[in-house]
């Protein structure tokens, strides 16, 4: 067996940053009121030398513009459930450790994805759009993987030799022990996991309780305690906190689309459909409102639900700014077997994931890519991934293919469009000042050409 244990280090902050929709520049921390400590800090807070474990007074002294949010275990649990539901699309055996960790079994997935590495990269690809930070470790049992994750191993060890050597480097602090057990280890002078692994089982049995023995044999991979596996619930229930107070139904649309997308994946995986959705709008002060959206016949597609919801929302007057949106589906119906389309899509959904993993496994991750639409004017950066929201009206004169690097223009051409002057990029020292044209060459090819500030001509793109 091979398990990977994923420990999410700042779940609340990551979900907050995602719903706010932009990388935050102000320091934000999550504060645990009962323990009077910070539990999570964002990048800006870390730069201000704040650390998890600090007291509130200490933190406030270091950063004046600090934003403090209270820690809530329920919120973390809900986020974790959402992540597990998402991973359940690509993985079968998932164990949820509240409030902020998951274990996923990899060895049985390798049959579907080809190799263990491909299976793991499928998981990380599923995690990356959620923007969550995590540390992970892999081992022959959940317990072993957990120790490595706590030690920040962040490496996918697949053979027992490398797991053993990684494990040997860990200290006892990485083990899941209560204070009494930790004290009993330090009394007998055991500080590293290596020492612990070297001890024969009989000797451990004389000294420690049965519970601890069970745990240690599990870490050593000699026994495999069973854990309850994650199963998606019978009803669908999600809630997203919107980043700011929304008083216009139009601004709710992206959050609602996100919820609907999650719902439709859930429906597709459980072979169900539904004819009634109930959205709940939560306000800061007043009681929440519920909006019912009904459809004449059971639906399972995002587009159909989105249009219906949009129509319904247009008629709604918000009585106060909305701070979070919930979606609940109580009645799920069995699918009518007439709609063949459902099954075609379902199969295609998994085939798509498998194809990408297979191509990446053989050709390397860099060889297979998906285009992004960047908020940019520099031609060579138009398809590069960036953190900015997509431009609403992308430029309409771009070629199909970009030549990287540009080639000098050597043939005679006739200009058919232009000029378009691009003069931008002063902020990151890659400034460009170019006049772009579309030129037709003598052999009938349409080229994107530009003249740089040295009056030299270059070909940068091909119009196909």
């Amino acid at each position: 067996m091979l398990w990977v244990y994923i420990q999410f280090t700042r779940l609340t902050l990551d979900f907050l940053a995602r719903t706010a929709g932009h990388p935050d520049h102000e320091p934000v921390v999550i504060y645990h009121p009962q323990n009077n400590t910070l539990v999570q800090c964002n990048d800006a807070a870390l730069e201000a030398e704040l650390k998890p474990g600090m007291g509130l007074a200490h933190a406030a002294a270091l950063a004046s513009n600090l934003q403090i949010l209270n820690y809530s275990e329920d919120t973390e649990r809900a986020h974790l459930q959402a992540i597990a539901a998402r991973l359940y699309q690509v993985a079968s055996d998932i164990v949820v450790f509240n409030p902020a960790a998951l274990a996923v079994r990899l060895d049985n997935l390798s049959q579907y994805y080809g190799t263990l590495t491909a299976a793991w990269s499928t998981l990380t690809r599923e995690l990356s759009p959620m923007g969550v930070t995590f540390s992970f470790g892999s081992g022959w049992s959940v317990e072993c993987a957990r120790v490595l994750a706590m030690a920040n191993s962040n490496a996918l060890n697949t053979d027992s030799q490398s797991i053993r050597s990684c494990l040997a480097r860990c200290t006892v602090a990485c083990l899941q022990l209560d204070n009494k057990q930790a004290a009993s280890f330090s009394r007998v002078g055991i500080q590293t996991v290596k020492q612990l692994l070297a001890l024969p089982l009989a000797e451990l049995g004389q000294r420690f309780s049965n519970e601890l023995i069970r745990y240690i044999t599990a870490v050593r991979g000699e026994t495999f305690p069973t854990h309850p596996l994650f199963r998606p619930g019978d009803t669908f229930q999600r809630r997203v906190d919107v980043g700011y107070e929304i008083d216009n139904t139009q601004h709710l649309q992206p959050y609602i689309t996100g919820l609907l997308e999650e719902l439709c994946v859930y429906l597709r995986l459980s072979n169900r459909c539904t004819s009634e959705l109930s959205f709940t709008l939560y306000y800061r002060e007043t009681d929440a409102d519920t909006i019912q959206v009904r459809s004449a016949e059971p639906q399972f597609q995002v587009e159909q639900w989105r249009t219906l919801t949009e129509l319904q929302l247009d008629t709604v007057q918000l009585s106060a700014p909305v701070i979070s949106v919930g979606l609940e589906v109580k009645q799920l119906e069995a699918l009518n077997p007439d709609s063949q389309d459902f099954f075609e899509n379902r199969q295609q959904y998994f085939a798509h994931k498998q194809l990408i993993s297979r191509l990446q496994a053989r050709l390397g991750e860099q060889s297979v890519s998906q285009p992004h639409l960047a908020n940019e004017h520099r031609v060579e950066k138009l398809s590069e991934p960036d953190d900015l929201p997509e431009p609403t009206s992308p430029s309409r004169w771009q070629p199909a293919f970009l030549l990287d690097p540009p080639l000098p223009l050597t043939t005679a051409t006739q200009i058919t469009f232009g000029p378009v002057r691009i003069h931008t990029g002063w902020w990151d020292k890659q400034s460009v000042k170019r006049d772009y044209f579309i030129a037709k060459s003598e052999d009938g090819r349409y080229l994107q050409v530009y003249r740089d500030h040295h009056q030299q001509w270059w070909v940068q793109g091909l119009y196909a």
């Binding site: 194809l355 053989r362 050709l363 297979v368 138009l382 004169w397 196909a464």
Partner: protein
């Protein structure tokens, strides 16, 4: 007697087609160009391999816009070894959702493998492959993979063109003053055709400005040519 038996044997062979037979109707994807669709009995085959002999940059994708964006929209389009990096604004304008597009860049021998995998996965509507060389055997493999999995494989080749590949359709594109001139080199179950001219405008032009200028000055303004 023996001779007629032999002939009837030959007649049964799936690759033998006689001019007076009418082709069995198969699913087609309309290109949207009436004259081309008429010669192709409705359009490009909806499953199978189509070779396009064309240099890059003459509108070789724009002419198939209806085929690439018009059907099976929930499935993927995979670009394998395109002649440059695929630009997102163009994809958006062309009508392909970015989430449905993957690009693969790799060595030529791996490209054929990738194309076959993509076709076999059953998740692709269309695989666009830019191949340097293509043997009859390789073309056959792709043709089989595509037709069994109901996908279209558009293979673009600029040079080193091997004649008579076992593909569903073989086209040659040549630039023309008004757009493109298309030659049907080979198609399964129908006659070939030459010089089908299709008007095509796939890049923006300065025509509007020129018109405005002529209106203003009453004389044509010539745009400078560069060389």
């Amino acid at each position: 007697m023996v001779m007629t038996e032999l002939l009837s044997e030959i007649n049964k062979h799936p690759l033998i087609w006689r001019g007076r037979d009418t082709a069995a109707p198969s699913a087609k994807l309309a290109t949207g160009h009436a004259i081309l669709d008429r010669h192709l009995a409705g359009g490009l085959p909806s499953a199978g391999m189509v070779r396009v002999q064309s240099v890059a940059g003459i509108g070789e994708l724009a002419v198939f816009k209806g085929v690439i964006t018009g059907a099976r929209q929930h499935k993927l389009c995979v670009f394998i070894n395109p002649p440059g990096k695929v630009q997102s604004p163009w994809l958006r304008q062309f009508g392909l959702p970015l989430s449905q597009v993957f690009t693969v860049s790799c060595r030529p021998d791996e490209a054929l493998w990738a194309a076959e995998q993509a076709l076999k996965s059953g998740s692709c509507h269309c695989v666009l492959l830019w191949a340097t060389t293509l043997s009859a055997k390789q073309a056959r493999r792709l043709q089989v993979a595509a037709s069994y999995n109901h996908a279209l494989c558009l293979t673009f080749q600029a040079d080193r063109i091997e004649a008579g590949l076992p593909v569903a359709l073989d086209l040659r594109l040549v630039p023309h003053v008004h757009g493109l001139s298309i030659e049907i080199v080979k198609q399964q179950g129908r006659w070939t055709a030459r010089e089908i001219t299709i008007p095509l405008r796939h890049t923006p032009t300065n025509a509007a400005i020129t018109r405005a200028m002529t209106g203003a000055h009453d004389k044509p303004q010539h745009l400078s040519s560069v060389g």
